[in-house]
Every structure is written in structure tokens, then in C-alpha cells.
């Protein structure tokens, strides 16, 4: 159909872009993960698996990784608990207000991540909005310390930030359910409750899986929320990578951790895509 030259012209720019900003950096990262740093802070280009051994030898790396996964898991659960009912209500019961409510759910996505994270800082701090209020109504005598600089703050903020990402695929999958299936279910004697569990929920599972994957993967790799609100107990794996590439000047170890994360995330995406396929019927 199209000439060779034409095809080359339109495919080359994106190809170059991907090569320059994705493939080459990943290749470099891959190489770095086998190199090391000499005591006088020079990168030594000798190949070894030492960085990967270090990863499994030093407790703090694995502990932080598990903590990150646990934080991401909680964020995923809360995002699903908030996002699913919201999506269900909008898709099935919002009527004429559907479009308006949809926009209201989407608007926070246009607000800068940093602004939203800082907002939580103002709310949760020792002399923040929440503690002031609690003391004012005499529910507490002293400011609650666990509110800020804790895993709790990180989970809360990430849930706030990533719930729309969970909501969207669930909403899309609910919107795709033919309404005559719901009618057929009622027609066959199923109550609204039975109809939800036997028809609507099973058919929305691909959306739930996609939404859960978004929430989990995005919060697993997050480093701003723990940096701003996590404190020492709320540090996540990305914060360690950041410090290894920065102050600690150990690029090779940072690269090794990054690659492990990358493999983990790709495995998760692969798994969720397969499950989604299994649960889609069209």
C-alpha cells in the first residue's frame, strides 16, 4: 500500500525516540548493575553478580521491598473499596448526573501530585488541621503523632492519588455490560443483589484486575509520598534507589535494585493481563 520510503519516514522518529530514551537507558542500567564502585568513588567496569548478592544479603533492602509491597497492597485494597462502589453507582444509578459526577472524579487528576501530597501534610501534621480539630473538640489531649511521617500517611495519600486510576477501568468495564443482561437476570427472578453478584460483578472482573494493577504498580514505585509524608518508618524501595543514585553514589547497586523492580512489575503486568483475558468473554 504505502511505499517503503514513506513507511520508513513515519516509523523512524518514534523508533529513535524509544531507542534514545528507553532502550539505551535500560541497556546502560543493565550494564551498571554488574559493575561496581571503587573506594575512591570511581565506577569500575568489571563484571560480577556482587550487587545482586548484596541485595539479598543486607536485610534493609528486602525489608523495604516487602514494606513497599505491603503499602502498595493496602493502597490497592482501599482504592478498590472506594473506586468500585463509586464506579458502580455512576454507571448504574447516577442517571442524568452521570457526566457531571464523572468529571468530578476525573478533575483531581489535573491537580499536581505535589499539591495533593502537600495538602495531606497540612491536614495530618502535629499542628495540622486534623489534630487541631481533634484537640479543639477534646477528643485528644495531645496531637496524634502517627498521623504524619508514618506508613499510615503514605497509604492514605497514595490511596487518594491512585483511586481515580482504579475507578476508570472499573467504570469502563461496567459501562460495557449490556443492560439487557441485567434485565434478563431480573426477568429470570434474580433480585438486584443476586443480579449484582451473579452477573454484574463477574463481568466487571477485567476492570477490577486492570484497576488493581494500576494502583499496585503505581504505588509500589512511588517515591514522593514516602519522601514527603513517610518519615523513617514509611520509606519505600524507590527512596533507597534515589539515595543510591544520589548521596550514596552507588549507581551499580541502585541499578540492580531497579532491574529487580522492573522484573517484578513486568511479571505482575503479564499475570494481570492473562487473568483479564481469562475473564473476558467477547
Amino acid at each position: 500500500m504505502f511505499s517503503r520510503a514513506y513507511r520508513a519516514v513515519i516509523t523512524l522518529p518514534p523508533l529513535l525516540w524509544v531507542a534514545a530514551f528507553l532502550l539505551i537507558p535500560y541497556a546502560l542500567l543493565f550494564c551498571y548493575s554488574f559493575w561496581s564502585v571503587s573506594p575512591d568513588q570511581v565506577i569500575v567496569h568489571s563484571w560480577s553478580l556482587d550487587n545482586y548478592r548484596e541485595l539479598f544479603r543486607v536485610d534493609v533492602y528486602l525489608q523495604t521491598l516487602f514494606r513497599s509491597m505491603w503499602i502498595a497492597a493496602r493502597v490497592t485494597i482501599f482504592a478498590l473499596l472506594l473506586g468500585y462502589p463509586l464506579a458502580y453507582f455512576l454507571s448504574f444509578h447516577a442517571g442524568k448526573r452521570k457526566d457531571l459526577l464523572y468529571q468530578l472524579v476525573i478533575i483531581p487528576l489535573w491537580v499536581s501530585y505535589l499539591v495533593r501530597a502537600y495538602a495531606w501534610k497540612t491536614i495530618l501534621g502535629s499542628d495540622g488541621v486534623l489534630n487541631t480539630l481533634l484537640q479543639y473538640v477534646h477528643l485528644t489531649k495531645h496531637p496524634l503523632e502517627f498521623l504524619l511521617y508514618s506508613p499510615f500517611a503514605v497509604v492514605l495519600t497514595l490511596t487518594h492519588i491512585y483511586t481515580p486510576f482504579t475507578f476508570l477501568p472499573i467504570y469502563a468495564s461496567l459501562e460495557h455490560i449490556p443492560r439487557n443482561l441485567v434485565e434478563a437476570s431480573h426477568d429470570l427472578g434474580a433480585s438486584p443483589f443476586q443480579t449484582f453478584w451473579r452477573v454484574i460483578f463477574p463481568l466487571s472482573i477485567p476492570g477490577v484486575l486492570a484497576g488493581a494493577t494500576f494502583a499496585f504498580v503505581l504505588s509500589l514505585g512511588d517515591f514522593l509520598a514516602p519522601l514527603l509524608l513517610g518519615g523513617p518508618s514509611g520509606i519505600m524501595i524507590s527512596n533507597i534507589v534515589v539515595s543510591l543514585f544520589g548521596a550514596a553514589y552507588n549507581w551499580p547497586l541502585g541499578a540492580a535494585i531497579s532491574l529487580c523492580m522492573l522484573v517484578l512489575v513486568i511479571a505482575l503486568l503479564f499475570l494481570s493481563e492473562n487473568l483479564e483475558k481469562k475473564w473476558s468473554f467477547r
Binding site: N180, L181, A184, D187, L188, V199, F281
Partner: protein, 364 residues
């Protein structure tokens, strides 16, 4: 137009028997658009009633009101002594076969069929045996474990039917269930559906826009036009005794003759025939097949005339001729096929076959 009391009598299911379903003065509007106006209709136990109408006539809305997916603005629906219209669809002993089948894509064929029994929490053994029976009834036993996406349209249609009938409803509603099938399969399914209905003895309310389909299957046809019932009668009755010009034209072909009646004789152009109709202008329906080539012996009350053939359309066993009389009156006639019918023909029809019909007034 008939008044509502009059139509309530004429639309009665069977004189003397208690009807299964009674629709009383049902009306429905969507916004300013009146979709149904004052519909009264009864369905007898074991009857096959077809609601026939063009798209936009309100036939699907009426069906959805019976099923409970829409609520009527006014009027009542009763089934066997129980008022139906305040109940949600899942509390009505009515099942529906949907136009696009609406099979659950995540369930197998047998799970689809067993759905109604499972939500009713019937014992497992009973579900298994009734599902098996239902699948056998529609000859789909071999596909029990297939997913709906893996079977053909005609097969999906059978499953939709089995899924509804397995619940032993008192009334089965069918919303143009054959419209997605190709012509041959469609004719075959019409016959199967009719014999299945006789076998199970459940009342069927069948919605379609296809008058041939309605004629083949129904005990009675309720013809709906822009939200009002035009005529409710058996296929033979509605064909041979159409009440209105619209009915005569919608069901089969017809010639509409605008005549003047005076002293028991109707005149239209050069044609005249005896009629019992009152004096004044009147409209008569004369079916094309009731006009025939004149026979040698002139019978009583037969109208004879001559006309030229203008156009000949071959339909296989029969052909449709467009003819024109000397005074310009154009008619269609249907006769047995014969090659090269040309020139002038000597024709006749019986006065009794010119059926007086009411004008159908324009509505919105």
C-alpha cells in the same frame, strides 16, 4: 375509532373464559411523545397472541410494560387475579425471550438455562434434571458445556427459549426473537416455536413487525398503530375482514376503493356492486387475489369489468398484475402465473369480497 369499552369487549380473549392476562387502559409517554394510548387487551390461557406493528408503533414498549422493565403512566395489568403492574420484574411469573437473546456470556449454556432455578434456590438434583429436559426440548443437549459465544445465532435463540421456559412461567414474552435469523432458519423456527407452544401449553405474547410471521404463528393478532390498537382478531379474520384501511394495507396487499353508496349500491368509477353499507361515501378493501378472470357463466352478485394490463410481476406460483380500466381506475390483481399476459382482460369479483373498512386517520 372504537371507544375503550367497545375495544375492551372486542379484545376479550375468549368469550366466557377467564383470561390469563388482562391489560386495562394502559398508557405510556416518553416525555411529550405518547407511545401507548389507552390499550386494553386480554390473553387467554394457552393462547399465542402476536402484537404486530411497524417500528415506533409501541409494541416493544407494551411488552416491556408487561415484563416490568417499564412502568405504565396509567392503567392496570392483571394476571390470574393478581395485579402485576406494581411488582418488580423479578416477582412476576413472566419470562422473556429478548431480541438479542441476552445470554450471560460468562456462563455455559447449561448454567444459563439453570439461572432462574438457581436464583430461586431449587435443589441441585431438580435443577440438573429440569435443565436437561429443557435442553432436550430445544435439541441442544450436546452444547450444554459451551459458552454462548461459541454457538450460532439460531442455537443461542433456542437456549434463550429454554432458559425462559425452564422456569415454567404462566406467560412467555418474545421480543422479535427471530429478527436476527436468516430467512430459511427463520421459517423453520416459526414452525418449531408454534409447535413448542402447543406442546408446553403456555401463553405466548409475541412481538414482531413481520405480518407474515404473525399470520403463520398466531391464534390472534393485535395490530398496533402509533400507540393504539387498530384491530385484534384471528389471522383469518383480520385478513378477510380488515376493520380499517390501515389493517387492510398492512396485512397483505389490497386495493382500496373510494366509493359512493346510494340505496344499497356502491359506485366507484365505472364499477358498482351491492352492499349492506349505509348511504354516503365509503371505503372498500378488495384483495388482489379476489379479482379473477371472468368465467363463462355469470354468477349472482358478481361484478364484471374490462381492463388493460400495465405491468406484470412474476412471483413464482402467482403473479401480480397492475391493471387499468378504461376510466383510469388502477387495480392490482393476483392470479396463477401465465406467460405474456397482455392486452385487455375480462375480469370479475364477488360483491361480498369488497369489504367496507374505516378510514385510518393520521396520528402525529
Amino acid at each position: 375509532m372504537a371507544t375503550s369499552t367497545e375495544s375492551a369487549i372486542t379484545n376479550a380473549a375468549r368469550p366466557g373464559t377467564e383470561p390469563l392476562l388482562t391489560i386495562r387502559n394502559v398508557a405510556k409517554s416518553f416525555g411529550r411523545n405518547a407511545v401507548l394510548r389507552d390499550i386494553s387487551l386480554q390473553v387467554a390461557e394457552g393462547e399465542f397472541l402476536t402484537i404486530l406493528g411497524e417500528s415506533g408503533s409501541g409494541k416493544t414498549t407494551l411488552l416491556r410494560i408487561i415484563a416490568g422493565f417499564e412502568s405504565a403512566d396509567s392503567g392496570e395489568i392483571w394476571m390470574g387475579g393478581e395485579r402485576l403492574d406494581p411488582l418488580p420484574p423479578y416477582r412476576r411469573r413472566v419470562n422473556t425471550v429478548f431480541q438479542h437473546y441476552a445470554l450471560f456470556p460468562h456462563l455455559t449454556v447449561e448454567e444459563n438455562v439453570g439461572y432462574g432455578l438457581r436464583v430461586a434456590k431449587r435443589p441441585k438434583e431438580e435443577i440438573a434434571s429440569r435443565v436437561e429436559q429443557a435442553l432436550a426440548m430445544v435439541k441442544m443437549t450436546d452444547y450444554a458445556r459451551s459458552k454462548p459465544a461459541r454457538i450460532s445465532g439460531g442455537q443461542q435463540q433456542r437456549i434463550a427459549l429454554a432458559r425462559a421456559l425452564v422456569n415454567r412461567p404462566r406467560l412467555l414474552l418474545l421480543d422479535e426473537p427471530l429478527s436476527a435469523l436468516d430467512a430459511n432458519l427463520r421459517r423453520q423456527m416459526q414452525v418449531e416455536l408454534k409447535s413448542l407452544q402447543r406442546e408446553v401449553g403456555i401463553s405466548f405474547v409475541f412481538v414482531t413487525h413481520d405480518q407474515e410471521e404473525a399470520m403463520v404463528m398466531s391464534d390472534r393478532i393485535a395490530l398496533l398503530r402509533t400507540g393504539e390498537l387498530e384491530q385484534v382478531a384471528s389471522p383469518r379474520e383480520i385478513y378477510s375482514r380488515p376493520a380499517t384501511a390501515y389493517t387492510a394495507q398492512f396485512i397483505g396487499h389490497t386495493n382500496l376503493l373510494h366509493a359512493e353508496v346510494k340505496d344499497g349500491v356502491a359506485r366507484c368509477h365505472s364499477l358498482s356492486w351491492r352492499t349492506g353499507f349505509r348511504d354516503g361515501s365509503a371505503l372498500f378493501s378488495l384483495r388482489p387475489e379476489n379479482i379473477r378472470l371472468a368465467s363463462a357463466t355469470a354468477a349472482h352478485d358478481v361484478v364484471r369489468f374490462r381492463a388493460k394490463v400495465r405491468h406484470q410481476a412474476f412471483h413464482g406460483a402467482t403473479e401480480l398484475l397492475q391493471i387499468e380500466c378504461a376510466d383510469g381506475l388502477a387495480l392490482s390483481i393476483r392470479t396463477a402465473s401465465r406467460e405474456n399476459r397482455q392486452g385487455e382482460l375480462e375480469l370479475e369479483f364477488s360483491a361480498a369480497d369488497a369489504v367496507p373498512v374505516r378510514e385510518s386517520p393520521e396520528r402525529n
